[in-house]
């Protein structure tokens, strides 16, 4: 594993103000993410893991602290800079796939590759997640697992430095979930994309290089797996 740091977060704090109540979502998080690393972020609801992911992905800004990505501080970036950042450097995978229903699998990927700098071909990306046979199907013609694999293809097709996945298997059954995780593992292995997966599901931690546990807005623990399991060895 290389020691290159992709993200470097220091003292990240996030406070949501909801009327007169303040909700502290992050209480000073320090975190480094390394190139080619596969990280699983575990934690109960409200532990702050989604907030952390949103800030890393340029969807939300921190109340204080800094996130350095390739010399840029995302916390102080403008709306335009954040859009640029998401466009060229980050891939997202959502729990509910969020495919564009009016576009086919191939077109959903192409929608992103057309605006990226050095993308792979949509067909290539879909091949990588095992969807090479269903290029011209619309979302309505695909199962949940297939839709999520298209979403992964869409996320990796731009060759992002980092892939952020929020409960990618949350809406899927175990068998389908494993197929999706295999797609993620393969992308990480073959493309070397730094991958962060948020999940409730402790079992998934087995396939990670590193498991970070969050609780109450802080990093409660971080451990390296000495041996990464293949997704096919997982079961829940």
């Amino acid at each position: 594993m290389s020691n290159d740091v992709v993200f470097r977060a220091r003292g990240l704090t996030k406070i949501y103000r909801m009327g007169e109540v303040e909700v502290v979502a992050l209480r000073g998080v320090d975190l480094d993410l390394y190139r080619r690393e596969f990280v699983v972020l575990l934690g109960p609801s409200g532990s702050g893991k989604s907030t952390l992911l949103n800030i890393l992905g340029g969807l939300d800004s921190a109340t204080s602290g800094e996130v350095i990505y390739a010399d840029h501080d995302l916390v102080r970036a403008s709306e335009r800079e954040l859009t640029e950042f998401r466009r060229h450097h980050v891939g997202f995978v959502f729990q509910f796939y969020n495919l564009i229903p009016s576009l086919t699998a191939r077109e959903n990927v192409a929608a992103v590759t057309e605006i990226a700098r050095a993308p792979m071909k949509p067909e290539e990306a879909l091949e990588l997640v095992g969807m090479g046979e269903r290029l011209d199907h619309f979302p309505a013609q695909l199962s949940g697992g297939e839709q999520q694999r298209v979403a992964i293809a869409r996320a990796i097709a731009k060759n992002p430095e980092v892939l952020l996945c929020d409960e990618p298997t949350g809406a899927l059954d175990s068998t389908t979930g494993i197929v999706v995780l295999e797609a993620l593992a393969r992308a990480n292995r073959e493309l070397g994309t730094t991958t962060v997966v948020i999940t409730h599901n402790v079992v998934i931690a087995g396939m990670a290089d590193r498991v970070i546990r969050m609780a109450d807005g802080r990093i409660a623990g971080s451990e390296h797996n000495t041996e990464r399991k293949s997704p096919s060895e997982l079961a829940w």
Binding site: R87, F94, N98, I100, L103
Partner: protein, 788 residues
Amino acid sequence: MGVLDRKLRRDLWHLRGMVLAISLVLLGGIATFVMARVTHRSLAETRLMYYADQRFAEVFTSLVRAPEPVAERIAALPGVDRIETRVVAPVNIEIEGYGEPVTGRIVSLPDHGEPLLNAPWLRLGRLPAPFADEEVTVSEDFARAHRLEPGDRIAVIVKGKRRPLTVVGVSLSPEYMYAIPPGAMFPDYERYGILWMNRRALATAYEMDGAFNDLSVTLQRGTSPRDVIDALDGLLARYGGLGAYDREDQFSHRFITEELRQLATMATVFPVIFLGVAALLLNVVVTRLVTLEREQIGTLKAFGYDTRAILAHYLKLVLAMVSIGLAAGVGAGLWLARGMTAIYQNFYSFPYLRLRLDADVFVQAVVVTLLAALAGTLLAVRRAAALPPAIAMRPEPPPVYRATFLERAGLQRRLAEPTRMILRDIARRPLRSALTVLGIAAAVGTLMITNFSRDAVGWMVDVQYGLSSREDMTVLFTEPTPQRALYSLTSLEGVEHAEGFRAVPARLVYRHRSYRTEVEGVEPGAELQRALDASLAPVPIPSEGVVLTEYLANEILGIAPGERLRIEVLEGRRPVLEVPVVGLTRQYLGVNAYMNRATVNRLLREGPAISGARLAVDAARIDTIYRELRRMPRVAGTVVRENSIQQFNEMMEETIIFFSFVTALLGGFIAFGVVYNSARIAISERGRELASLRVLGFTRGEVGYILLGEIALLTLLAIPPGFVLGRGLSAYLASSFTSDLYRVPLVVQPSTYALAASIVLASLAVSAVLMWRKLAHLDLIEVLKTRE
């Protein structure tokens, strides 16, 4: 307050943009409906009251001269109820400090007591005192134009003799609500006035002692005017009767009837469009709303709310939405009706106005609106409420899309994904897309009608005064005058050219149809007054036969060129002539019959006589010309072309401009309402999709393209059918406004198309700006969250 009602209140607040847009369209529909109906009824009712109060007659005729005892024979005719004989005299009027020639009409009043019929309605001062010789009451419009008040002095010239008179009152009359000078087309309050004075004084001045030259009659209940008219014509023929006519042919009455009829047409056309679009819009919005709330409906049902409660909830929501537009529309309609009736009251000199507010107008407005609203809602809610709660609560499966025809036709490679999204979304909901296009097209159409009236009027003026009546002024003689009078006109300094004409009142008869008008004998090769053919090229008037206005030949008489027309001359020896129709002319104002002047003289067995002349003059010398003309005793009046154009424009401005303004405003409402709602629906429907794209790195501009591209494309698609619709509506209005008074040509200028399109595009731009701001607030984090 129940929980559902609280939800209702919050939903309304949340949807305020849409509520506002729908309300605007509804307001447009209801307001035009209420305005037009209330105005129409108020005017119709006021007119009836006014006629009754002033004892407006039912049959009218004028004649050369009949001794007063003839009146007794007329009163004895079967069917005649009351009669009034009068002396009516053309006069020249002198007003101190006013240089232009002024003409008018003096109408006699009984020397004592109220007039039996056609009583003037006194606005100021009083009627002439019994047997007073030098007192006169003047018409209000004329008094206003010259700031005449009781106590002022004017002079009239009757039969060449000047008589000073004192104004004692200002009044109005149902007979002259729309008073036009002889030879003119439009009222001219500055240069033409109606005066009333005592009969004895007038008869003496006009050499009509013991005789009358004007007769009005009311009929006994159930009498046919036709019978009385025939009897009168028979009786008065030997006294130079000019042909009796009933109220329907009385000029002032005709004109106002025509105007009221147009108002009634407007009262139908516009509200139908507006309410139709509003219904359409409501349907789309409510269907969308209910579909978006499908999960909530499922949840409510899971809690144990029954379908009826849910249905009631959404009906309440829709009713709350429409009631705003309804209330505002009724209010605005009443306000506009007041403005509109005030304009008409002033324009047609109604002495008072009875604003008539019938409950049924409001009931109709409410019923139509509610039907439109409920039809849309019931269907949508029933469908949503019919789902078992477990299914309704689950998020909707991804909608099914297909590649569109355009792409299958091979365009696929050329279209980027965002463009494909736009096309597929339009194609996936063809009905909704079509309704949106229809709504926007309706807006374009409405906006076009607004300007069409202006285009048509402009065209009418151009043709009438640019191509047909090209004289600078028309001089009318008091009676047929030898042709050599032309020489004295041409010898006036400043008169460049003069053409004489001979106009004869006549009844034109073909089979069972007939029409009263003037046969105009014109000089062959006349330069100033020209008859035009359908392509607006001058038509020569052949030496034999008669040329008729198209409308007169085709619509009124049903006669074709080659057939013979009977002309019953209503003047002099009253000969009856049989003349072939040899041609047709196109003419937008009035209807006429043209013949060669010499032929008219020959057929009337008179020498070369003329009734008047058309002059081309040097504008710089016009004052001298006026002065000279006033010295000529035979000159009964002059009509100056420029004044006519100005009066025509003023008349059109007053009535049309207000309506145009209102419809333009409301057309704008429709355009904005439809476009904004479509965009707003798109954003609420596809917010998640668009936010996902933003997360994936699409810029606001790129996402905006997908959102607004669709509505922009639909707007562009709607413009051509909108043009067709606008032209169709214009054609409908033009044909419904057509009468013998005027024909409205179907002329739509390019600027009218351009204006309608640009207002719609401006609505698109405003909606785009509003949507752009909404896009800034798309919640990107929301899409990552677990959907509850």
